[in-house]
Amino acid sequence: MLGNEAIAAGLVENGCAMATSYPGTPASEILAGIARLKIDTGRPRHVQWAVNEKVAFEIAYAGCMSGLRTAVSMKQVGLNVASDPLMSAAYMGVRGGFVVISADDPGPHSSQTEQDSRLMAMLAKIPVLDPDSPAQARQMAKLSYEISEAYEIPVMLRPTTRVCHARQDLPPAGVPGEEATVGFKKDPSRWAATPKFRLQLHRALEEKLDALSADPRTAPRLLNPDAAGLRAVAASGVAAAHAREIIQDLGLWETLPFYQVLQPFPLHRSFIDEILGKYSEVLVIEETTGVIEMQIADRRRVRGKQDGRVPSVGELHPETVESVIRAFAGLPGYAAQMPTVPGRRPTLCAGCPHRASFYAVKKAAPRGIYTSDIGCYTLGLNLGAVDTVLCMGAAISQAAGFYHAHRHLTTRPDIVATIGDSTFFHAGVPALIDAVAQQVRFVLVILDNRTTAMTGNQPTPATGVGACDEPLSAVDIEGLVAGCGVKFCRTADPYELEPFIALLKEAVSFSREQGPAVVIARHPCLLDRRRVPSDRKPVQVVVTDDCDGCGYCLKHFECPALVQVKGEERVRIDPGICSGCGVCLSICRNHAIVAVDPGN
């Protein structure tokens, strides 16, 4: 069972009645797992992908205000989007149990930042649990509900990539837990508190934290109580799993007391007293920021990130943990390290419609500024068609910013923003409204592949189906764009490359004179299982002798099915990868890529 599926099981087994999410690696499989359980058992009663993390949070929060156990899951940068309701929900508290799952990505493997969600829990003043494995994540889902209800407080569960995407042999999900009876009880002094009441709520929150830092259920555990020694190690999350295995492998289990911290914030007071009282030195190992460490006020005996013994940047690989523990325990030698060899860079799939769109963008606005956004299409970087990637929705607001910054120039650069359909819904719409009002002269290309592709093809509001494949209403992107006040909005299939380039050129000239122009590049993602089968036949392409090996198609189109074998001049098509989209037929300047008639 995948870590994320274990979390899903833990939530549903313990009576989760509503679960919401916005997809993001490494959190995406949590809601997908819950949806699968709902398809099998009919529960939880409500499972949904929301338009963004803030909306997801608020929906699940209203559920717990109504007495239900609910959960919202997201990746760490998604929590930034949901931070507004998080801060306030901490004050108002909960009635039914409420778990906020924020999955961190030390490394980072698939994120813009390595931020530590536990700091967000500190900021909001809510407890956070830090699982070391899928099994523990599942147990902590239960524990989260228990303490959430005992203290009427949202609880954060903070797995990291290595927990989310670890797979462990675990018993399959049990029967869904009993769901609580629903009933919202009005209490405006709490649920709509004015600043005066907020002060009281803040005071109450501090009292809850105080009690939480003494609750035995979440207290740190000494895993080798027989170990005798004057130095101890404390760790949390997957770093604790690495440390446990390494301490055993190095033969230190009898001599190096090892604590696992389950709740990094608020850190248990008695634990701080114990480690400072019993040991001459305590090494703290955690990812990514020194959250446990910073709560131990007396620094003289603490070793960790602040004194540089444990790295503060990047993932703590087990070999790093081994080196740190060896040095701390005075063992000779170093852990073997991996060489740093650059890996292969990711690329858009063969036949991905975005590749055609990016090629067209470069043709229509060759010296433009290209702002882009978060999704598979970030890989437009490889094609030189992506200059900026900041955060969800920023393609549009940054385009506006570049316009305002350059607009006094006599020759302004053209500005083309690319954004995926899901990202457009998530955070692009308010920025587009702003751009219309401010008369920003730019072209927005909405890469509408009908799905949230990067994270595993979750539906978007335009898909018209829900998390469990149930039919829902589909939001019309053209109508939405027109509703924002955009005067130029046209839709086309980027596979029809020549007309698509012509359309983009038209949009660019419109934008120079009149304001925002929107082109919706519509073609389904090739990996989407919901994709409506097209009547378009795959084209069998070959490279003829006219190929002079100039490499233009490799450099400017970069389809992974176009390969140049060492020692050969001519480019080849890899039939195992080629999707038969036929777009490359229009790319080669020597017309060396041709379609073969399937008849012969």
């Binding site: 995948l2 690696t25 490494p26 995406s28 499989e29 493997h109 698939s110 070391d132 494995s133 290595r162 927990v163 995407h165 670890a166 797979r167 462990q168 042999d169 997957v238 799993a241 690495h242 446990r244 295995e245 390494i246 690989h317 087990p318 070999e319 081994e322 852990a335 073997a336 390290q337 991996m338 060489p339 060899v341 890996g343 292969r344 860079r345 990711p346 690329t347 858009l348 799939c349 598979c376 970030t378 890989l379 990067m454 994270t455 992974p560 039939p575 195992g576 990868i577």
Partner: protein, 186 residues
């Protein structure tokens, strides 16, 4: 507990996104679980799955950490030859490596098996099946050696057969067989 049950095994599966590294990892983990041995894996998801370097760690036996340390892996299945430079460091001295490549890899100090799984995949009309062909090859190649995997070809075939619709399982079984046959020859 027999010796083989008590033994801990650590295997790295290396490739690029789209080759089906996760699929092979899951089958092998499932096989371990069927032998009542604890299995812990770490997978690559997200952006790297779009054709970037992908690696799975698979640990069978009593482990806490999902990741394999450098110099600790017993063996490595390599679906993309170019990854050897980046990932060979995981192998312990005397470890083994089974590589999908046109020619035998040059890896001193390592028992190295080689199969052109992409070519066989094309021959059997399943261009995307190099992953299970390599697995079939490894099962045969390692069979009888003292570093063998924790499972037999039968185990793998049972898992594949129970895994879904008829046509797909048949294709997979044929691909595993093709790799296995090649492994018996070498």
């Amino acid at each position: 507990m027999t010796e083989i049950e008590a033994k801990r095994s650590q295997i790295v599966i290396s490739g690029v996104g789209g080759q089906g590294v996760l699929f092979v990892t899951r089958i092998l983990a499932e096989a371990a679980i069927r032998h009542r041995r604890p299995a812990l894996t770490s997978e690559t998801h997200g952006m790297a799955q779009r054709g970037g370097t992908v690696i799975s760690h698979l640990k069978v036996g009593d482990f806490a950490s999902p990741l394999i340390r450098p110099g600790a892996a017993d063996g490595m299945l390599v679906l993309k030859e170019e990854n050897i430079a980046a990932h060979q460091g995981f192998l312990r001295p005397g470890g083994w490596m089974v590589v999908n490549a046109i020619e035998a890899a040059d890896a001193p100090g390592v028992a190295c098996g080689q199969i052109d799984a992409d070519d066989i995949a094309r021959q059997i009309g399943q261009p995307k099946a190099a992953n299970v062909i390599l697995l079939g090859f490894a099962l045969a190649w390692l069979d009888g050696s003292n570093v063998g995997l924790w499972c037999s070809r039968r185990d793998i075939e049972d898992i594949v057969a129970s895994g879904g619709d008829g046509k797909r399982s048949e294709d997979l079984a044929a691909a595993i067989d093709a790799g296995y046959a090649q492994g018996m020859k070498s």
